[in-house]
């Protein structure tokens, strides 16, 4: 996996995941973080891979997909500020999907094993960062709850469906 130079505490402060931490905590964590520039198509993680590193996308966009060849299925395209790999970090399971750069992209890699070791030792900086990751996960869970709720209720009336069909039929087709 390509890795770059270790990041400074100031550099980390610009990342939302680290923004709420104190300067002292950021300095303590800086040696676990490194810049990871990627070219088009280069993978961040591969499905099934055993790795616990965490990634923060800072520039560009990445594609999340499962399977390969004819079975490949794109799950999402992720934009900057996103956290990648938190499931493997917390659950210790192999990567559930492949993530690769759509174009040139910049990420910050956080050494997962190092972070886990410090959390296990009760390191306050590592626990603060864990709390921030928890906040991200909680926000995602809340969004998922809203999505589930909307799916369990009729989202449109028949009138809406017919209106949409009418617009589509007349805009996109000439019979």
């Amino acid at each position: 996996m390509p890795t770059g130079k270790t990041l400074s505490a100031e550099g980390l402060g610009e990342l939302t995941l680290f923004a709420a931490l104190t300067d002292a905590h950021r300095r303590e964590l800086a040696d676990l973080c490194s810049a990871m520039p990627l070219g088009e198509g280069e993978p961040v993680v591969r499905e099934g891979e055993a790795s616990r590193d965490l990634f923060l996308l800072t520039e560009g966009s990445v594609r999340v997909s499962t399977g390969s060849g004819a079975q490949a299925q794109e799950l999402a395209v992720i934009q900057p500020e996103a956290v990648i790999g938190e499931l493997s970090l917390i659950l210790g399971e192999p990567r559930s999907a492949t993530v690769s750069a759509i174009g040139p992209a910049s990420l910050v890699r956080v050494d997962g094993e190092g972070l886990r070791a410090r959390q296990a030792a009760g390191d306050p900086a590592a626990l603060q960062l864990a709390w921030q990751i928890l906040a991200k996960l909680a926000a995602r869970q809340a969004a998922m709850n809203r999505e589930l709720l909307s799916l369990s209720q009729p989202t449109t009336t028949a009138g809406d469906e017919v209106s949409r069909l009418r617009d589509k039929l007349f805009a996109e087709w000439s019979f």
């Binding site: 469906e161 017919v162 069909l165 009418r166 589509k168 039929l169 007349f170 087709w173 019979f175």
Partner: protein, 409 residues
């Protein structure tokens, strides 16, 4: 696969391209009304015979229901439902202002005298006259029903509702029928075939045709192909098949069949009836029954193009196989729609109370078939789909447009 399943498969494919939701698709497939009646009559020998009569009215958002009445022991509600649905899409493809209907009686007219058929027809109309009418539902000839049956229907309907010849089409020419109706389906097939080749910068002249089925439709279209300079190298009817690689003398063959009731005995090489499908040719026209080209024999077809003059002669599996190796199929709902189109002209003439000349009928048919072919061929090219899918897209699309514009309460 039943006819019903095959039709729904085509509808689903077109609905997928149109991105219709499942709810809209369900709505489009479901018939508006299905009627089953008991039709009892006394036979010539004094016995009572009881049959079942059916009428399915599929969709009428674009105009009154329209479709044939067939007399056949296999007629049932499933059959009528499928055929009514096909009429909805066919009338929409041709842009005639009708919806789809179909029905019939589960009798075998071969077992019935003319008097028995007349009594049965009148009894049936007594049961369904309230749901048919010139602006409601307009029956037409189909399997084992012809101009005489239509005349009885017109007469029986008039007893309840007064003179209204537009209640039914396919009537005898001398009784408010239309000139050109007899040859209309064959003429439509020939126009569709010619338009296909015209798009390729080619013409019918010199092309080799095989016509399977030499009844009303097959004989007319063989004559029209022959007149256009094409070579009809093979024909078959229920009794046998003929081939002549130099091209059969079609007018003489039609005269022979009129005299002898069969193509057999005509001066040409005879071959087994089924072998006709496998002759090398440019165009194979199945003009008789459904399901003659199946997954089992599609690999043996040596035609460059198949034109469905009959209803559903090519099964969905065979269709996919043929298209897969570049043998295109001009689908029934486009190719054989000349019949319903001239039925429409008959209805228009009845309402206008003004008779068109045969030239006027043929010119209007030419115009409507050309426009329908042009639209289907355009959609096939734009969306990179086969002609059948394109035709169903045009049919479904036009019905859906009418439906959403009128509104669903």
């Amino acid at each position: 696969m039943s006819h019903f399943e095959a039709t729904n498969r085509y509808i689903k494919k077109a609905a997928g391209v149109l991105e219709l939701s499942q709810r809209i698709e369900d709505h489009l497939i479901a018939p508006e009304r299905e009627v089953a009646v008991q039709v009892s009559t006394t036979l010539d020998n004094g016995q009572v015979a009881t049959y079942r009569g059916f009428r399915v009215q599929h969709k009428n958002v674009r105009g009154p229901f329209k479709g044939g009445l067939r007399y056949h022991p296999t007629v049932d509600m499933d059959d009528a439902r499928t055929l009514a649905s096909l009429m909805t899409w066919k009338t929409a493809v041709l842009d005639v202002p009708y919806g789809g209907g179909k029905g019939g009686i589960d009798c075998d007219p071969g077992d019935l005298s003319e008097g028995e058929q007349e009594r049965l027809t009148r009894k049936f109309i007594q049961k369904i006259h309230e749901i048919i009418g010139p602006q409601t539902d307009i029956p037409a000839p189909d399997v084992n029903t012809g101009p005489q049956v239509m005349a009885w229907i017109m007469d029986e309907y008039a007893k309840f509702h007064g003179f209204a010849p537009a209640v039914v089409t396919g009537k005898p020419v001398h009784l408010s029928g239309s000139l050109g109706r007899d040859a209309a389906t064959g003429r439509g097939v020939s126009i569709a075939t010619r338009e296909y080749f015209r798009r390729l910068g080619e013409e019918l002249a010199g092309k080799r045709f095989v016509v399977q089925g030499f009844g009303n439709v097959g004989a007319h279209l063989a004559r029209l192909f022959h007149e256009a300079g094409a070579r009809v190298v093979g024909v078959a009817d229920g009794s046998g098949a003929l081939r002549d690689d130099r091209g059969l003398d079609v007018p003489a063959l039609i005269a022979h069949r009129a005299e002898h009731g069969t193509v057999k005995g005509f001066a040409a090489d005879e071959l087994a009836r089924d072998e006709i499908l496998y002759l090398p040719c440019d165009v194979l026209v199945p003009a008789a029954l459904g399901n003659v080209i199946t997954a089992d024999n599609a690999g043996d077809i040596r035609a460059g193009l198949i034109v469905e003059a009959a209803n559903a002669p090519v099964t969905p599996e065979a269709h996919d196989h043929l298209e897969g190796r570049g043998v295109h199929v001009l689908p029934d709902i486009l190719a054989n729609a000349g019949g319903v189109t001239v039925s429409y002209f008959e209805w228009v003439q009845n309402i206008q109370q003004f008779r068109w000349t045969e030239e006027q009928v043929n010119a209007q048919l030419e115009d409507m078939m050309q426009r329908a072919c042009g639209k289907v061929f355009d959609i096939a090219k734009e969306r990179d789909v086969d002609f059948r899918t394109a035709a169903f897209i045009v049919g479904l699309g036009r019905v859906a447009q009418a439906m959403v514009t009128r509104g669903i309460q």
